[in-house]
């Protein structure tokens, strides 16, 4: 008898351990709590302030915010979807939106009354799925511009005005390439456009590298490709054919990675996603200009002993400058245990009230125009001019903004494009090799 009791007790203990694990993550989910995840630590105080306002307006409801680093964030979210320990609301990225929509893990938000006109152009429409339902409420946006070391620019005789009016083409690189070449200095002090320049022994590169750029090239080649008139897909949203086989695109990529061959941009082997991204190269004085996103404004502004300024991306063959305009959104998980509370919180997050509060922290551009204005004012107060990031959004006549590619199977696209681009950049493979990669991606997309 005693043995049987023991066996039973052991079994019970084991079972309770297993079920305890399963419940662990969801602990705290109750009718009174809304769990919320975000990845940007800089934004945490802003959203905590927003949550306070929400709790005041909704007595009895509490928001519990969890911040996780970018890569852990998606791993944990995926695990959460599988184990049923996902948050009620989470910050969503377009890159993952297609996949989540396909996996049917998101709650439709059609009844929240999100209107395109309430937000910066294009932001709200991007979060409509292929089925016509809305799955995200616009939260913020970012664009890409040039960050440059103002001392290096001055030494090279390049004024802010000049850097803001550069133009570019895939044949000879235009004034942009000339500026980048002039900013490049080899070990013997010769500039990139001077005779005898040693491209294998460069001390300061004109343009920093952010790697091969996966399939989106957000802070690498995307602004060049778009200002040459190229689009990722055959349709603005939910396209079914990628266009990496386009001759225009391939000529842009050839020119862009050609900057490394000429010694104006570091080779791929100098880049590491962990230890040496573009901003690190600028901070270390190894590069003069970096193409980087608005989410990095505070990082560049914080480099000690360096005066980093920003400039617009160069004007391309279509006569306009271009930048990706990417927006995040808040999504509700389909398996949320507190959908009513989650809806209220997402409505609040998407409102002017919350976005103005977030804007005042000067860490991100909120999606509503009022929120954006608050952010611009906050940056100004810190002494940071952010017009290079806001102007392309405001001035559609001279600038083209485009969105991150919105399509199904984006993880597969990235998995195939990452090595393909690295092969071109790092191993000198011809750009025409993208034809085959494009074929493979489109085959997956046609499933």
């Amino acid at each position: 008898m005693r043995i049987r009791t023991l066996v039973a007790a052991t079994g019970a203990l084991a079972l309770s351990l297993v079920s305890g694990c399963a419940q662990g993550g969801a602990a705290g989910s109750s009718p009174n709590t809304v769990t919320y995840w975000l990845w940007d630590a800089n934004q945490l105080p802003a959203y905590q302030a927003c949550a306070k306002g929400f709790e005041r307006e909704n007595p009895g409801l509490k928001v519990r915010i969890t911040q996780l680093g970018w890569s852990d964030y998606w791993t944990k979210l995926t695990a959460g979807f599988i184990a049923g320990t996902q948050p009620d609301v989470f910050t969503d990225h377009i890159q993952n939106f297609g996949q989540f929509a396909d996996l049917k893990v998101l709650e439709p938000l059609d009844d929240l009354g999100i209107k395109d006109s309430d937000y910066q152009p294009g932001l709200a429409a991007n979060w409509i799925g292929q089925d016509g339902h809305r799955y995200g409420a616009p939260k913020d946006w970012d664009t890409v511009a040039l960050f440059y070391n103002s001392k290096m620019a001055k030494d090279a005789g390049l004024t802010a005005e000049r850097l803001n009016s550069l133009s570019w083409n895939p044949e000879d690189g235009g004034t942009f390439e000339k500026a980048v070449a002039h900013l490049t200095v080899d070990a013997k002090g010769r500039r990139g456009d001077e005779p005898g320049f040693d491209r294998n022994n460069v001390k300061v590169y004109g343009l920093a590298t952010n790697g091969g750029g996966f399939g989106d090239g957000q802070t690498q080649w995307s602004n060049f490709a778009a200002s040459a008139g190229w689009n990722y897909l055959d349709k603005p949203r939910w396209g079914t054919k990628y266009q990496y086989d386009s001759k225009t695109f391939q000529s842009v990529v050839d020119w862009y990675f050609g900057l490394a061959r000429k010694g104006y941009m570091p080779p791929l082997s100098d880049y590491n996603i962990q230890s040496n991204q573009a901003n690190t190269q600028v901070a270390a004085g190894k590069a003069a200009i970096a193409l980087d996103g608005a989410w990095m404004i505070s990082t560049y502004a914080g480099f000690k002993g360096l005066d980093i300024k920003s400039a617009l991306t160069p004007v391309g063959p279509i006569g306009k400058r271009a930048t990706m305009m990417n927006g995040l959104a808040d999504s509700i998980t389909k398996a949320s245990k507190n959908k009513a509370g989650a809806r209220k919180w997402v409505s609040y997050l998407a409102s002017d009230k919350c976005q103005t509060v977030v804007g005042r922290y000067g860490v991100v551009f909120p999606a509503t125009p009022a929120g954006t204005r608050a952010a611009v004012a906050a940056y100004e107060k810190k002494g940071i001019d952010v017009s290079s990031f806001t102007e392309p959004v405001a001035d559609k006549k001279h600038a083209r903004t485009f969105s991150y590619p919105i399509a199904s199977y984006s993880a597969d696209m990235t998995a195939l494009m990452t090595p393909a681009m690295e092969d071109i950049y790092g191993n000198g493979k011809p750009v025409s090799s993208l034809d085959r990669t494009n074929e493979q991606i489109n085959l997956i997309l046609s499933q």
């Binding site: 043995i3 023991l6 052991t10 082997s269 230890s275 993880a411």
Partner: protein, 321 residues
Amino acid sequence: MTIASSSPPSRLPLGGAEGAPPKTIAQRAGAGENQGDGRLAAVFLAPALLGFVVFLLWPTLRGIYLSFTRFNLLTPAEWVGLDNYVRMVNDPIFWDSLTVTVEYVLINIGVQTVAALAIAVLLQRLTQSALLRGIVLTPYLMSNVVAGLVWLWILDTQLGIGNEILAAVGVDRIPFLADETWAIPTIALINVWRHVGYTALLLFAGLQAIPNDMYEAARVDGASEWRMFWRITMPLLRPVLAVVLIMTVIGSFQVFDTVAVTTAGGPANATNVLQYYIYGSAFGRFQFGYASAMSVALLVVLSAITILQYRLTRAGRTDLG
């Protein structure tokens, strides 16, 4: 106080040791009590058995089942027969992954085993210092991810102190983790650095089991250290060495964390080891069926290698005694 090599050797259960083994409880117990012991044994075995079934047997069987399905974890698995295996055979990235993994294992195990053996013999024959034995083990105390990140920073082409030193002495910078040719050997050596102490300690324990009088007798006969190593140490260490090899080879085939933090499979898939490809397919692309099929392939490869190693090294038998 140190565990001196001259003290009476503590024997490892290698089998075939001299003298009669002490009687087990079961042998001493009378036949009538056997049933009671069986029950007691069941109780003691139950937790381990539960663990085995829940964490090993069931996941393995389910993994094999999933390899015949299309499965994204969130919607029910859909039976697709051999589709995943057909895809695997035709997938150049899979074969590339396997080649990269084998390259890694050869460098990793080759260097690690030789180095560990050298360290173990030196520890056994030259020093009796427990402090030194402790120091040899220190890299193993560090987490793989931390070790990977620290080495990544040291070896960074543009900013790493390792490359700064190379540049200072006038040697060209080496893109250790960013070049197709260098990346796999570099990762393999980082892991050698971390695991060599542990492997050495396992071999050292094996060496302790070799009776010291053999060395004394050999010395009386005028044998050199070199000769003693090949004629006494190696033959008698063989079973332990075989087990250590089997364990480290299996571990080596499963390399993942160092790759994940240093190169993320790049540049251009040059370090896309099998486990990393499996992980990416499953948790990045939600292709759990295909990932399971590749896991089954890895299981088959590892089983075959283990059986082959076991046979070739006669791991189950000892020349001692």
